[in-house]
């Protein structure tokens, strides 16, 4: 049983950042803007979030510091995503191009700034955020063991973001308008919706969530930020497509990948896998191969937003 608890706890570390960032990508793409810049925005969010912790960790600690850092990461991500929004919406630029530019800029900026200020590119931080057991909830049998021990507050932020996103996109006026702009912006415009504003909102939300996701990725897995999020932005993009741009399916996809990734990284801690004569690299490949296989059988009917990637021009009907 302890193996199951261990796996459940580990899975959170991998799945939650993917979930948050993929949901961010969903807001952008369902408003009609392809956001390939998620990786870059994650790096920027993590850089500013960790940088904030690095500066203030002598005066603050624990959950207050982490929550403030989450806000900083969100703000940094939102600001950075504005570059993408401006190019894609106002200038009607090719969205792949501006996204690629952002992806290239972010790590270079993080390395440059860190090295110019402190000499080395790794930004160190002390992990004072680890929760051994959540009060009361951690004592619930089975569930408490699985979800409320050895955790980080970011896990619960991730679930909260999922619930809020699900509600917003499916049950609010804003969500409906956002979806309309991604499917048929001309029709949305004809009933008085400002397509540009909605698309800006979509991209900014994706920036906020990707920024938070970047920080969420670094906190549990490391004690320094090395100007990279290991391609998790691209994986989140994969989770988004895998999840068919729908909130619940994204949750499933993120956890599918998270569980696979956990097996890959923690197989030596699992008794029955440890004895098998299989090379380390094979385990590392499994999450990617499994995703490919599942996609092959589930992609016949793609539900991508119809107007995705097409700049909206008021003049064209």
């Amino acid at each position: 049983m302890s193996t199951v608890y261990f796996l459940a706890q580990q899975t959170m570390y991998f799945a939650i950042p993917l979930l948050i960032v993929a949901l961010g990508g969903m807001f952008s793409e369902r408003s009609g803007i392809v956001n390939i810049a998620l990786e870059g925005i994650m790096v920027v969010g993590a850089f500013f979030g960790i940088g904030f912790i690095n500066i203030f960790q002598n005066t603050m600690s624990g959950q207050t510091l982490l929550l403030l850092a989450v806000l900083v990461a969100a703000a940094a991500g939102a600001l950075f995503s504005l570059f993408h929004a401006f190019a894609a919406i106002n200038l009607k630029a090719n969205q792949t191009i501006s996204g690629t530019a952002l992806n290239m800029f972010a790590p270079a900026f993080a390395v440059y700034t860190a090295r110019m200020i402190q000499g080395v590119q790794q930004v160190q931080f002390m992990d004072t955020f680890y929760i051994r057991s959540v009060p009361i909830l951690g004592d619930i049998p089975v569930l408490g063991q699985m979800f409320f021990r050895n955790a980080y507050i970011t896990t619960y932020i991730g679930f909260a973001i999922f619930l809020i996103s699900w509600f917003i996109i499916n049950n609010t006026r804003f969500g409906l308008r956002l979806r309309a702009c991604g499917e048929h912006p001309q029709a949305a415009d004809s009933v008085g919706i400002n397509v540009y504003n909605i698309r800006y909102a979509g991209v900014i939300i994706s920036g906020i969530l990707a920024g938070i996701g970047g920080l969420t990725f670094v906190i549990p897995t490391s004690t320094n930020f090395n100007a990279t999020v290991d391609g998790y932005g691209f994986l989140a993009l994969a989770v988004l497509i895998f999840g068919q741009w729908r909130t619940q399916k994204i949750l499933v996809a993120a956890f599918f990948f998270g569980i696979m990734k956990t097996f890959a990284s923690a197989y030596s801690g699992i008794p029955f896998l440890k004895v098998l004569p299989i090379s380390n690299e094979v385990y590392k490949m499994i999450p990617y191969i499994a995703t490919l296989v599942v996609l092959t059988f589930s992609s016949k009917k793609s539900q991508a937003p119809r107007a995705e990637g097409i700049p909206y021009d008021k003049g064209s009907r």
């Binding site: 390939i36 191009i97 290239m104 800029f105 270079a108 690299e281 490949m285 490919l292 996609l295 092959t296």
Partner: protein
């Protein structure tokens, strides 16, 4: 008068807008340098601009050495772009090509010495092609988005290569591949004496041949026309009798072969470069995206933009003398690409400039008035369209 004639030429306006993007990128770079250290900013900036020209022939050799792999991955990404696919998997294809080239270069001592390097390069191309075909097949038959499959194939390829290295050609002391046999290293053909350094070989000529071949395929053959037609409208080309599944797979196979060849060329260049067994994707594949975008996916544009980016990279290496961090170059390139996305805006500015020019020039106002409209409507693919019409006439 002559100035206006020149500006009317469509290719020239796109060249001008690229130039404006480059100027904007360099300006941002200068500002970043000024903010971080105002004293040394200007000498460092001049060092960046001089790039490969700073160190005579050796500097130029360095530029060529940096340029070879990124031109190949750039061609790969650009070729796929032209056929409507986004090959973000150049990194995996590059790594596979590099490994197979090294493997053949070490293990296949039975191959005649004169053609050993050639066999290794062909092996690299084949490996890249196989890796590229994966996303192509999945896209053609199962409608899987090629972006996501390419990303997955990058990781699978990286781990597969790491595993294969450890099992076959591993130097466990240095955690990298063993050196290849002498016969597998690309011939120098006197280039080393010409440039006065050992880093150059016939690799750059192979790259130029690849550029020409891709140019001919895309612009002069029916096959290339079919690929481009599929890229611009899959349904229409299917209706016109083109086998669109075959086109998708073949364009990914060719794109993969180009990246694989790039990997072979870099690791057989005899410069003391080895694959390190680390869980990191090959950065050359992602540089290829920048090169392709800056070169507007045109083979010759890619050749030039690859050389230009390599030139800046050498400059970035040199500014470490002034205690600057070379990553400033990546930021400059990112800004250049970002501004390249503004092609439309720049073209409007240029056409406004033309308007001004003609209002002073009363002789041909009508003709000039037409230009801005044409410049606005043709954003990026202007060249493609021109060539397509030529092709149609040929057929």
């Amino acid at each position: 008068m002559r100035r206006i004639k020149l500006l009317q030429y469509e290719g020239f306006t796109s060249f001008l807008s690229s130039l404006m993007a480059i100027v904007a990128g360099l300006l941002v770079g200068l500002i970043i340098l000024l903010i971080s250290n105002a004293e040394d900013a200007f000498p460092a900036f001049i060092t960046i601009l001089k790039g490969g020209f700073l160190d005579g022939t050796r500097g130029m050799a360095q530029v060529i050495y940096f340029a070879i792999p990124i031109i190949m991955t750039g061609l790969s990404v650009g070729f796929a772009f032209k056929t409507g696919l986004f090959n973000i998997g150049a990194s995996g294809q590059f790594t596979l090509g590099a490994f197979v080239a090294i493997y053949i270069g070490i293990k296949w001592s039975f191959v005649p010495e004169q053609i050993h390097w050639l066999v290794a390069l062909l092996g690299a191309m084949a490996a890249g092609a196989v890796w590229g075909s994966g996303p192509g097949i999945l896209k053609a038959f199962f409608n899987v988005n090629e972006v996501i499959t390419s990303i997955m194939m990058n990781y699978i390829g990286m781990y597969l290569v790491n595993m294969s290295i450890v099992k076959t050609v591993y130097d466990s002391l240095k955690n990298q591949t063993k050196p290849v046999l002498k016969s597998a290293i690309l011939p120098k053909a006197g280039m080393d004496k010409l440039f006065n350094t050992g880093n150059v070989s016939i690799g750059i000529f192979i790259v130029i041949i690849a550029v020409i071949v891709i140019y001919i395929i895309l612009q002069k053959t029916t096959f290339g026309y079919e690929l481009k037609a599929c890229g611009s409208n899959k349904e229409a080309s299917k209706y016109a009798g083109i086998n669109e599944k075959r086109s998708i797979i073949l364009s990914m196979v060719i794109a993969g072969a180009l990246s694989g060849l790039g990997g072979g060329l870099l690791y057989l260049s005899g410069s003391g470069k080895y694959i390190h067994v680390l869980d990191v994707l090959a950065p050359e594949g992602f540089s290829g995206i920048s090169v392709a975008l800056l070169g507007m996916s045109h083979p010759i544009g890619i050749l030039l933009s690859g050389l230009f980016i390599a030139h800046l990279e050498v400059g970035g290496f040199n500014i470490q003398l002034y205690n600057f961090v070379p990553e400033v170059i990546d930021m400059i390139i990112a800004v250049i690409i970002y501004c390249g996305a503004f092609a439309l805006l720049f073209k409007q500015i240029i056409s406004r400039f033309i308007k001004k020019g003609t209002s002073e020039d009363i002789e041909e106002p009508q003709q000039a008035a037409k230009i801005p409209v044409a410049a606005e409507s043709q954003v990026v693919n202007s060249e493609t369209e021109e060539n397509d019409t030529e092709q149609r006439e040929d057929n």
